[in-house]
């Protein structure tokens, strides 16, 4: 595995039946590559939270996963409304999710905090009305 393996996914908006498919696919591929279960678990959790966020808030988007021998990088880019206050959004329990999402057991304001907790590095670039790009890295 000298060069980076790149995987790309498109996330459909408002489709909870498909949310998690991309993360499950990445999980399967990492397993085939012999990545440690702990790193796989971190990637799966962080990416699924990102996927759910894209479905709920951002009219879907795209995910690019780069796998190298030293790290797994996930780049989640959407053209959604942007995050008005990143600091507030990062607080556990803060949520703007609609009731419909909460009735499915989500929307408790744990998404971004979970993403941070399970990755070694996370950066958020966001612009109101333009979109959000979240880059997360998990070290091997």
């Amino acid at each position: 595995m000298d060069e980076a393996i790149v995987l790309t996914y498109e996330i459909s908006p408002d489709d909870f039946t498909r949310a998690g498919e991309a993360s499950s696919d990445v999980k399967g591929k990492l397993k085939q590559l012999g990545v440690s279960p702990e790193a796989i678990r971190k990637v799966a959790i962080a990416m699924y939270e990102g996927e759910i966020n894209m479905v709920i808030h951002a009219n879907g988007g795209g995910i690019r996963v780069e796998i190298t021998p030293v790290e797994i990088k996930m780049i989640l880019a959407d053209v959604g409304p942007g995050i008005p206050d990143v600091e507030q959004a990062m607080k556990a329990g803060y949520s703007t999710a609609p009731d419909e999402v909460r009735s499915l057991g989500f929307g408790a304001g744990m998404g971004l905090p979970n993403m941070k907790k399970y990755t070694d590095d996370m950066t958020i670039e966001t612009q109101l009305g333009v979109g959000t790009t979240i880059t997360m890295t998990v070290k091997m």
Binding site: S23, S24, G107
Partner: protein, 111 residues
């Protein structure tokens, strides 16, 4: 205790048998809020919940739970059932409340 051991114990009804039933259960885990379960469910746990939608199955897969126990007579909806079969996730059911179901698993794990 393995997932197979729990399946064979007769404590719970068998809804779906998934891959790797010989896997060791690490701990019972109780939670119905998927947002919390996503961040807290320990790898290899026996997850006791009443939440039976397709997202429960996704969270179980991604957090690497060993199996799911649907408590209080809760059932998987049709899409979730399909997902359990497709993703080969072991699911059991019981009429017991969540605490009692988790306690039974805990006691069985103590031997």
């Amino acid at each position: 205790m393995t997932v197979q051991g729990l399946l064979d114990s007769g404590m719970f009804t068998v809804v779906n048998v998934g891959e790797n039933p010989e896997r060791e259960i690490t701990v019972p885990f109780c939670c119905d809020l998927l947002s919390i379960a996503m961040g807290r469910a320990p790898a290899g746990c026996a997850w006791v919940t009443v939440m039976g939608n397709m997202n429960t199955l996704a969270v179980a897969t991604l957090t690497d739970a060993a199996c799911i126990i649907m408590a209080e007579g809760a059932v998987l909806d049709e899409i979730a059932m399909k997902k359990a079969k497709d993703q080969e996730i072991t699911v059991m059911g019981t009429e017991l409340p969540i605490f009692d179901a988790a306690l039974k698993i805990h006691q069985a794990m103590q031997g």
